[in-house]
């Protein structure tokens, strides 16, 4: 079982004629994802990897019965592409694009509060249910179907932790990359709720990083609501204040909020062990199962 996506998910790829969109649409199809359409303004009527392209997401969703969208659109046009997905019939939009201006995302965030569509990302690797479907850029071969849910702000860190799990024969229900930007759609709390409510998820890995207070909020939520055991990892213990560590959202503010320590403390207080290394995270998960 899984959360959000499975082999029934019918995917439209926004930006399928671009370099990234084309390559990763191919990778998704190869993985077994049910990619049913592309959407690129002005490119309607073409085909990519045998998949029909439409001018709008709305057309693609109506004609091909798509219920999810993956956005591979350059930063300058990405917010508009997300708005388009939110106003179309799809239930889920996954935005891979990195570098969308924050004020654009604030406007998207406002729109999200008015619609039922769920957004994952932006600046994220996407979501995968191993053996069924991947929506995004995650390397499918390191994942294995199983009973651990994973949610992470970072793509490559996700790969690292997943490989530590898979090497021990511990598979995953679904892995959700929520993205490293200051304003994102689906957050830790949303993801934890999905995993808690999924009968097939027996343990959860939560990978956070410096910046913001999402991990602290997640810790409070775990304390209140989550019975499934959770193990954590927080990247950026060595980050100096005021420096942006790659991700737009990964910055410890001058006044000392958003530090790794405050997040680790909050998680520990909620009964969540936090590994010092990815290997230790896998140790914790192994002990839960």
């Amino acid at each position: 079982m899984s959360v959000l996506v499975d082999d029934d998910t019918r995917v439209v790829v926004q930006g399928i004629t671009g370099g990234e969109g084309k390559f990763h649409a191919g990778q998704m199809i190869e993985y077994g994802t049910n990619v049913v359409a592309g959407a690129v303004p002005g490119k309607g009527g073409q085909e990519v990897h045998g998949v029909p392209v439409y001018d709008t997401v709305d057309q693609a969703a109506r004609e091909e019965d798509a219920d999810a969208s993956v956005v591979f659109v350059p930063p300058a046009f990405a917010a508009d592409a997300i708005f388009e997905a939110l106003d179309s019939p799809v239930d889920l939009a996954v935005a891979i694009t990195e570098g969308i201006p924050t004020q654009d995302m604030a406007r998207v965030n406002k729109r999200l509060s008015e619609v039922d569509t769920r957004l994952i990302g932006p600046n994220c690797p996407g979501i995968i249910t191993p053996g069924e479907a991947k929506l995004g850029i995650l390397p499918g071969n390191i994942f294995e179907a199983g009973n651990v849910g994973l949610v992470s702000r970072s793509g490559t860190l996700t790969y690292q932790v997943v490989s530590n799990l898979t090497e021990r024969g511990i598979g995953q229900t679904t892995a959700i990359g929520i993205g490293g930007d200051p304003i994102i759609g689906t957050d830790f709390v949303d993801s934890l709720r999905l995993f808690e409510d999924d009968p097939d998820t027996d343990a959860i890995v939560m990978c956070g990083e410096i910046g913001g207070e999402d991990e602290e909020e997640a810790a409070a939520f775990i304390d209140d609501y989550v019975d499934t055991p959770v193990a954590g990892f927080i990247a950026g213990r060595t980050a100096p204040p005021g420096k942006r560590m790659g991700h737009a959202g990964a910055i410890v503010s001058g006044s000392g909020t958003g530090t790794a320590q405050s997040k680790i403390d909050a998680l520990n207080d909620a009964g969540v062990p936090v590994g010092d290394t990815p290997e230790e995270v896998a140790d914790h998960i192994e002990s839960f199962l």
Partner: protein, 383 residues
């Protein structure tokens, strides 16, 4: 990207926010001439991107030409928290009776812009926020409408700004929001916003941070960027040129990897195993060989670096491209300048391992082993 004070003041003044008259100078004679022109008293302010300039001796108030000469001479060329001062702003001193704070930023928790007003200006506002959060009035703004004038008034009256200047302060706040919105600000701040004895308001300082992701649609500000970053860290300037996410740190283990979270984790593991990270360097997704070569070149050119660890977990990035880049970077040397440990995983790692010239680097299979080896290498070089 943070604008210099003189740049932010210009942007604010162009938008109609009252600022004191001022001139930028890069030598003592020009600074004195500017002071004479403006009329005493004037403030002479170092134009460098560090906090606490005043306390560090980077701002001086002067009353005549002799004092102006002395102050300009002392400040120009001084080393302010590690940054060389090569320009000063000569600015009319404001005869104030009150100092306020106004600011606009993104509240990431709420995912909304927030405007702020406080009557406790002129001091470190982050300390105020911690000690007495109620002293700062916050008004969230719906980004699809922008700030309504009533919201600016509400914030100003709630903050307890004196009635006779409240309208002017509200107008400054409204303008500041519009500017922040139009120019893709990350933070925009006036601290202090001075109230003069004539009951006028004047922006005595100006802070403007721009969202770097939005520079593509802010050509005028992008032009200011080169100037704003001038005088900073040479390696960080080089990283900008190569287009890397790079942060220089004070250790001796150079770190290169792909993806912010994994590179941060590599730093943390270096620290965990008793080493000290020299830098954060993310080559980004899908890096080609040339980018990898540039990354090694950067880290080698940092003289503090004693050893290097390369940690790649390929998703979009391909192990064979990375291996080719490492070979290219290292094959030009008669002797490798610093020992390099490589760990390749993920997409095409096996192809990468076949290509990688193992005479030039040490290969480790796991992240933990790679980091420990690099830490040990640094210790050896250090001895």
């Amino acid at each position: 990207m943070k604008l210099h004070e003189y740049q932010a003041k210009q942007v604010f003044a162009d938008a109609g926010i009252p600022t004191p008259s001022s001139t930028l100078a890069d030598n003592v004679d020009d600074a004195v001439a500017a002071a004479e022109e403006i009329g005493y008293p004037v403030a002479i302010k170092a134009q460098v991107q560090v906090g606490g300039r005043g306390k560090a001796g980077g701002i001086k108030l002067v009353d005549d030409a002799d004092e102006a000469r002395e102050a300009a001479d002392a400040i120009l060329g001084m080393d302010l928290k590690g940054i060389h001062v090569d320009r000063v702003l000569v600015e009319a001193a404001v005869d104030f009776v009150n100092e306020l704070y106004v600011g606009v930023t993104m509240d990431r928790g709420e995912g909304k812009p927030v405007a702020m007003v406080s009557t406790r200006g002129g001091v470190n506002i982050e300390e105020v926020a911690e000690e007495d959060p109620d002293a700062i009035v916050r008004e969230h703004v719906d980004p699809s409408f922008g700030m309504h004038p009533y919201q600016a008034r509400k914030a100003v009256y709630d903050a307890g700004v004196e009635r006779d200047v409240a309208r002017d302060v509200a107008s400054v706040l409204q303008t500041l929001y519009t500017l922040w919105d139009d120019r893709d600000g990350a933070d925009a701040e006036i601290n202090p916003l001075m109230v003069t004895s004539d009951r006028e308001v004047v922006a005595a300082d100006a802070v403007m941070n721009i969202d770097e992701d939005a520079l593509f649609r802010q050509p005028e500000l992008a032009e200011m960027e080169a100037e704003a970053t001038a005088g900073g860290d040479d390696l960080e300037a080089k990283a900008d040129e190569y287009g890397f996410d790079y942060v220089r740190l004070d250790g001796n283990v150079g770190i290169i990897g792909n993806g912010a979270g994994l590179v941060m984790t590599t730093l943390d593991l270096v620290d965990h195993y008793g080493g000290k990270p020299a830098n954060f360097l993310d080559i980004g997704g899908g890096a080609k060989a040339e980018r990898v070569t540039n990354a090694l070149d950067m880290v080698f050119s940092d003289e503090n670096v004693d050893s290097v660890v390369f940690n790649i977990f390929g998703g979009i990035t391909r192990g064979d491209e990375v291996a080719r880049g490492i070979n290219e970077a290292l094959e030009g040397f008669d002797e490798i300048p610093k020992p390099v440990v490589v760990r390749l995983a993920g997409t095409n790692w096996e192809e990468g391992m076949e290509i990688l010239n193992e005479d030039l680097v040490t290969v480790e299979k796991t992240l933990e082993d790679a980091v420990q080896r690099a830490v040990a290498n640094a210790e050896e070089v250090d001895q």
